[in-house]
């Protein structure tokens, strides 16, 4: 880790004001006592992943009947998981993980979001982690941030959102970092200080600039390694890399690199799950990205993979029935994808509700039998020792944790 410069110290003490003395950044002892060795990665699958296609309940005859045009079960190349569920062949590269108990699923899960089936409200609620009934309002903070607030000994580097977009899941009062692979702020010291002053009064620009300075210095040396000779060449190179750094592999590599250093929590998004048309091709592409991300995390984390849990969750599921164009429309229950060396995997968790018409939600969607937040909460309880009252009261207000599903080893 790069040394913190005096200028950074001054800048940060100006930001933190009276709470500066309490900041772990000022005490190397606290800096070392990050919250343990365990690591949590949360992947948001945007667009509503079809859990019924990813983890196919091929043993349920209603599935084949509702999806005549789909490739279903081991007969179509999916891997049999347990005689009832089969894994979509788009995830076949993860098969060794399943065999090693490092891959698992929870089926028939959802957030409390019901009925309106809007991606955008659904994703907001998934990241806010609240009880619902607040659709359309601006969410103040996300559940990973509220969780971070409860952890002792954290620093700004403990939690990281990776990608080109702001992450609601980490929005909130606990400091965290939001950064994109290859992003870089390269400024001369004088310009950097002048801009710091120009941003000082603006509540939006000021913290964003301070974070950009902090993180760019951390990764590339002080002042982003600016040599000041050719700003255009500098920017062009950086911009090219940033523009191309949006793929799953680059994002996962970067997350793994930071998790090996001081980060313990990382989050990023993967899109492409809104498969209204030609699902067999489009879901395979999306699964390919998910598979790449998980494999890159495993490779990048090396020995730390054993302390890691990855949770990949989506805003809602899709209709049981295939639609008019070889796809599926917005539904309710879906599946949670879990991976990591810390996982007690090789299993499909959850109570299966069945797929007969009377078993469905609204007579069209997979009926959720458990809140996806409960699985996330149990993972956090085991990884970081957080107690039940904190998880039910603060992190996921209104959630009933229920029994321990035994996700982790």
């Amino acid at each position: 880790m790069a040394a913190i410069t005096r200028r950074e110290m001054l800048l940060r003490s100006a930001i933190l004001g009276c709470s500066a003395a309490a900041s772990p950044l000022f005490t190397p002892v606290a800096l070392a006592s990050v919250p343990g060795e365990n690591r949590l990665v949360v992947i948001i699958l945007r667009g509503a992943m079809d859990g019924l296609d990813v983890v196919q309940p091929y043993g349920d005859p209603a599935l084949v009947a509702a999806r005549p045009g789909f490739e279903i079960g081991p007969a179509s190349g999916a891997r049999d998981l347990d005689g009832f569920f089969a894994l979509h062949r788009g995830l076949q590269d993860l098969w060794p993980l399943w065999q090693a108990g490092e891959l698992g699923f929870a089926h028939a899960v959802s957030t409390p979001y019901r009925n309106a089936r809007s991606h955008f409200d659904g994703q907001d609620l998934l990241e806010a982690g609240t009880q619902g009934g607040t659709e359309g309002r601006v969410h103040e903070d996300g559940w990973l941030n509220r969780f971070l607030q409860t952890l002792p000994g954290t620093s700004r580097e403990t939690a990281l959102a990776v990608g080109r977009q702001e992450a609601l899941i980490l929005r909130g009062s606990a400091p965290s970092v939001s950064w994109s692979p290859a992003s870089r702020l390269s400024l001369s010291p004088a310009t950097s200080d002048l801009l710091g002053l120009v941003y000082r009064e603006d509540p939006l620009f000021q913290p964003a600039f301070a974070d950009a300075r902090f993180y760019s210095d951390l990764l590339y040396g002080e002042f982003g390694g600016a040599d000041g000779d050719d700003m255009m060449a500098d920017m062009a190179a950086t911009t090219r890399s940033v523009a191309r750094a949006g793929n799953a592999s680059a994002i996962a590599d970067f997350a793994a690199e930071r998790l090996r250093a001081d980060a313990r929590i990382a989050s990023f998004s993967l899109g492409g799950w809104d498969t209204h048309r030609g699902q067999s091709g489009s879901i395979r592409r999306a699964l390919g990205h998910l598979s790449t991300a998980i494999l890159q995390l495993r490779e990048g984390l090396g020995p730390d993979w054993d302390h890691t849990t990855v949770l990949a969750m989506t805003e809602f599921g899709r209709t049981l029935r295939e639609n008019g164009s070889g796809g599926t429309d917005h539904g309710t229950g879906s599946a949670l994808v879990m991976a990591g060396g810390a996982l007690n995997g090789g299993r499909v968790f959850g109570d299966w509700p069945g797929l007969e018409e009377a078993d469905l939600f609204d007579r069209r969607d997979l009926m959720p039998t458990r809140d996806v937040r409960a699985y996330a909460a149990w993972a956090m309880a085991r990884l970081f020792g957080t107690d039940r009252a904190t998880l039910e009261g603060q992190v996921f207000p209104g959630l009933d944790l229920g029994d321990d599903p035994g996700l982790l080893r």
Partner: protein
Amino acid sequence: MTSRATLAQIRFGTGLRPGRRLPAPEALMERLTGPDLMAQTYRQEDFATRAVAAQAFRSELRAARGLADGAERQAAVRAVMRDAKFRQLAISLARGVASEDGLRERLTWFWADHFTTAGQRAVMQGSITAYVEEAIRPHVAGRFGDMLEAAILHPVMILYLDQEGSIGPNSRNGLASGRGLNENLARELLELHTLGVNSGYIQRDVRQMAELMTGVGLERGREIVFRPGNAEPGPEEVLGVTYGGADPASLTEVRAALQDLALRPETARHLSRKLADYFLSDAPDPGVLEAMTATYLQSGGDLAAVMQAMLAQGAAWAPGPGRVKRPFHFVVSALRALGVVPDRIAQASRPDINQWAYLPMVAMGQRWQGAAGPDGFFDDDPEWIHPQALAARVGWAMAVPSRLRRRLPDPREFVSACLGDMAGETLQWAAARAETRAEGVGIILASPEFMRS
């Protein structure tokens, strides 16, 4: 105290253009309701031309498949298509930089985002600009119902939201093929384009709307047709109003439903709120919203009247800080402030546009015509100004101006030339103390005063 003339250009237009006389605030509406000069000066190709090009694109890609030099051929075909898209981007930028009718440009960006289409599908390649040009731009000062019809029943939208695959399960073709509905367009029509999410419609309305729209299809990828053989028989009820049921069914009933949706009070509220959000504040003054909604309903969705109602409210002219400019707006207003010649932008080469416009905007969070979903780009300021996006904006402000202008302006003069009386004291002080002109100009363009509107 900021003058209204300055605010008019910055908040409702594409920014100040140093060296030009500042028009009176009233010019905003006069020009918006006059002729569209920019569309005449900088022409975009029409959809018919682009549809032919997209078809050629597909067949040339296919023809190259399996050939010994197939990969190179395909790369060449893709390069031609990319050239076309970058030409369209260059023209869109040039219009914003040159325009004396900036409100029209801003509204075009707004409504193009409201009716977002995007996609990598070959059949849509290079066609999104033409869709905006034909379905959106002519209506930004017209009636919303007309824009709605033009956008929803445009081939690009039909393709983007999968309407061509939606078949009535009990229609002749549905019964024969066993295929059924695709809800995608119907849902986004209610949720995003008209009523707004959580405004009271239910899943049944989505289904019924989807059934009503079965039959809407596309011929040869370019002409909207109505196929009675795909149309779900029987009437449909959307929000308590019954449509369809005629035999044979026809497009007329779909158009009637769209016009009704346009005039719903939920739609009036949703669109007024979104417009006020975009121009004024994410917590707009209730009086402004009320005036806009009332005007919308009284005028039958006359969008010029709605804008006039917004501008007539004192709260619309409250001094900053205003909304954060989206990357496209930021780049246009900066090019304008720098006095870059619009024709030079319109004629810039693909590598140039890529290096100083397209890729930087990606890094700032806005891939041009590449929104991740039909809800378009973000609404909230924090979604644009996070550390990595701000780093990209600062990098642009520092590096690009000296690439585009041989001699940069003196920062002490530039600060008032591009911000008028909106520049704060700290900014003026800092701009004067920069080590070089490039850094002084960069600090000004990267300032909150310039990044906000």
